[in-house]
């Protein structure tokens, strides 16, 4: 199990590095994405690899959960950052497309008449 995950991450990271060293920008951006996936996976399995383990639920009288940081928002913000980043990048593409098609960077696709 550990080996499979490690090899998968290694392949992903290695391919990313190789692509990063390629001359085209498209390849570079794909390389960056692959590396970021590998790193995300790495962060995720830092919580240890287990199968069929219940989530952290504390029984009565063990420890006071109020003393610990809530892990949920961290997980959520991570997802949110990723999704926000992706959609913003997508918008960037549309912006470039609009610039190319209309010849201007005005949001309406044409300069306001003066």
């Amino acid at each position: 199990m550990e080996a499979v995950i490690a090899i998968a991450m290694g392949i992903m990271f290695g391919s990313g590095v190789w692509l990063l060293l390629r001359p085209r920008t498209f390849q570079v951006i794909i390389g960056l994405l692959l590396i970021s996936y590998a790193v995300n996976l790495f962060i995720f399995i830092m919580g240890r690899l287990t199968i069929n383990q219940p989530p952290l639920t504390l029984a009565e009288g063990t420890i006071d959960p109020a003393l610990y940081a809530d892990p949920m928002p961290q997980a959520l913000v991570l997802t949110a950052i990723v999704i926000g980043f992706a959609t913003t990048a997508l918008y960037l593409v549309v912006m470039i497309g609009a610039r190319g098609l209309t010849g201007t960077d005005h949001v309406d696709g044409k300069e306001t008449s003066r």
Binding site: P54, P55, A80, T87, A98, V107
Partner: protein
């Protein structure tokens, strides 16, 4: 130890488009036919699962007709729960019917301009289905983003400057709405420490007053995101522009996306605020917002000349009616609202597809498409659709147009009339007869009638100008694959009219469950984890 296989049907509407969409990327764009048929196979499989879910929930395979799927087998409030009840099933069915129709419509022409139409289409369906099935707020956010990302691609599909301009506005508005969504989710989590919608409803009881205020703020901010999607005034200004700019099959799918906002509002509001400590909160906002939307849509409808914008305003009107009906806060109104939702979605979608065919009477060589081709540099230019044309094209267009107009404006004898009539009937016969009929009812009914009138005027003007006032109309070249989906959607409307009784009874059952949050809370609390977990072994 293992789950009965039927349980996995709940997951199928999400998994199918994911797998097929990803697989379709690998096939080269040259194989139009192959890609189309794979896409169609997946969409039809989705249709079958939707029917299966409909039967399973309605025949109470699961207690109370609520199927729960605990992902990763985590106990209820901790893991992500997928929930399928009667409402989910009927929405999934609507999605797959509409998807099949618009996909077939796109076969000869629209799926061939630009790349990856089929993959994006499948991902859009994945997002939509996921949004219907999930019972977790953050998961809902993720599915919304999946759906939106695919829709950005599809709105821009067949890249031209009109679409780019509309697409830019659309993306900005939706990005902003997504940020509101996140703020709302964060506030809800901060006050209640849960993101499961049903668990949230259960915890409202134990919330102290300060937290309750924060929670309400959170829910309102969250609702802003859904209200933007469902185009409530003043958040809906982006809608007509985007609808008229998008390619017809995509615009037809977007009609459904407006309804997802309404769907989430129905689900969330009835779950959280139909009873319990915060009962009745926010219903007025929905009601008045809905009425304002209705008025806005009516004025817009009268003002528009282009058929694309008319369809957009028709969608705004239908959103307004729905929001007002939900905000009216009467449990008996929910099933009528759902019936109206189904009928108006089908009609507006059919109308959006029809517009493109009608346009060919006036502009035989589609000028916009030529521009598209040039900009995108597609190798295989489809140009005019090839193949055998159907006879009686003009007669078909006229008849289909009349049918669409009848359903959209709510004139007899089609399903639009049934929906509006039952709406008025329920409004004028309140369950609680002692309170009588309020002022709001007397505002709402004339507004709905006026919006219908505006629709009639606007659509008649367009119809007369196109079919009667055109000098020597040339019968356009229509294909079977373009005529079939429109006919099918309108036939579903006819079927809804004929089978209004059984449909209403079904929607009645789904509304009955929706109006009792306690049922959902009990179901969630008793949802079983399969097998023994380590924790239980220890005890």
């Amino acid at each position: 130890m293992s789950l009965p296989w039927v349980q996995h049907v709940i997951l199928a509407p999400i998994l199918l488009p994911l797998i097929f969409g990803a697989g379709l990327i690998l096939i080269n764009e040259r194989h139009h036919q192959r890609k189309f048929f794979i896409n169609l196979a997946s969409t039809l499989a989705m249709l079958l699962t939707a029917v299966a879910l409909l039967l399973l929930t309605d025949h109470e395979y699961w207690p109370d007709g609520i199927g729960l799927y605990l992902s990763a087998n985590w106990a209820a409030p901790f893991g992500i729960v997928l929930l399928a009840d009667r409402l989910t099933a009927v929405m999934l069915l609507l999605t797959s019917v509409l998807a099949t129709a618009s996909l077939i419509f796109a076969m000869t022409r629209w799926s061939r301009i630009g790349v990856h139409f089929h993959s994006l289409f499948q991902f859009l369906l994945m997002g939509v289905n996921g949004a219907f099935l999930t019972n977790d707020l953050f998961n809902l956010f993720v599915f919304f983003e999946v759906m939106l990302a695919a829709s950005y691609g599809l709105v821009l599909h067949g890249y031209n400057s009109v679409r780019i301009r509309a697409g830019m506005q659309y993306i900005v508005v939706n990005l902003l709405a997504s940020f509101f969504f996140l703020i709302g989710v964060a506030l809800i989590y901060a006050t209640t420490s849960t993101l499961n919608m049903t668990d949230l409803a259960a915890r409202l009881e134990r919330l102290n007053p300060e937290d309750m205020v924060l929670l309400k703020i959170g829910v309102v901010i969250l609702a802003l995101a859904f209200l933007t999607k469902s185009a409530m005034w003043p958040l809906g200004f982006w809608l007509p522009t985007t609808y008229s700019a998008a390619s017809p099959p995509v615009a037809a799918m977007m009609v459904l996306m407006t309804k997802i906002g309404v769907y989430v509002l129905i689900r969330l509001w009835l779950l959280l605020f139909s009873e319990g400590p915060a009962a009745g909160f926010g219903f007025d906002l929905l009601l008045w917002g809905g009425l304002a939307t209705l008025a806005f849509g009516t004025i817009g409808m009268l003002a528009s000349q282009e058929p694309g914008r008319m369809a957009g305003y028709a969608a705004v009107i239908s959103s307004g009616t729905l929001l007002a009906a939900v905000g009216y806060g009467q449990p008996a109104l929910i099933n009528v609202a759902l019936f109206y939702l189904i009928s108006s979605t089908l009609a507006v979608a059919a109308f959006l597809m029809l517009i493109e065919l009608i346009d060919r009477i006036r502009t035989p060589g589609a000028a916009m498409l030529a521009l598209t081709m040039e900009a995108f540099a597609v190798e295989d230019k489809p140009g005019e659709p090839v193949g055998k044309a159907i006879p009686g094209a003009l007669a078909f267009l006229g008849l289909a147009f009349a049918c669409c107009a009848l359903v959209i404006t709510g004139l007899p004898p089609l399903s639009g009339f049934v929906a509006k009539f039952s709406l008025f009937h329920t409004l004028l016969n309140p369950v609680d007869a002692a309170t009588g009929i309020g002022v709001v009812t007397w505002i709402m009914i004339p507004l709905i009638i006026l919006s219908g009138l505006a629709g009639i005027i606007s659509l008649m003007r367009f119809g007369v100008r196109t079919f009667w006032a055109t000098q020597n109309p040339v019968a356009p070249h229509l294909q079977r694959s373009e005529v079939m989906p429109i006919t099918a959607l309108l036939l579903v409307c006819v079927l809804l009219t004929v089978q209004a009784g059984p449909t209403m009874a079904y929607l009645d059952r789904s509304a009955e469950t929706l109006n009792q949050p306690a049922i959902y809370i009990d179901r969630l609390a008793s949802s079983p984890v399969i097998g023994d977990t380590v924790l239980e072994d220890d005890q």
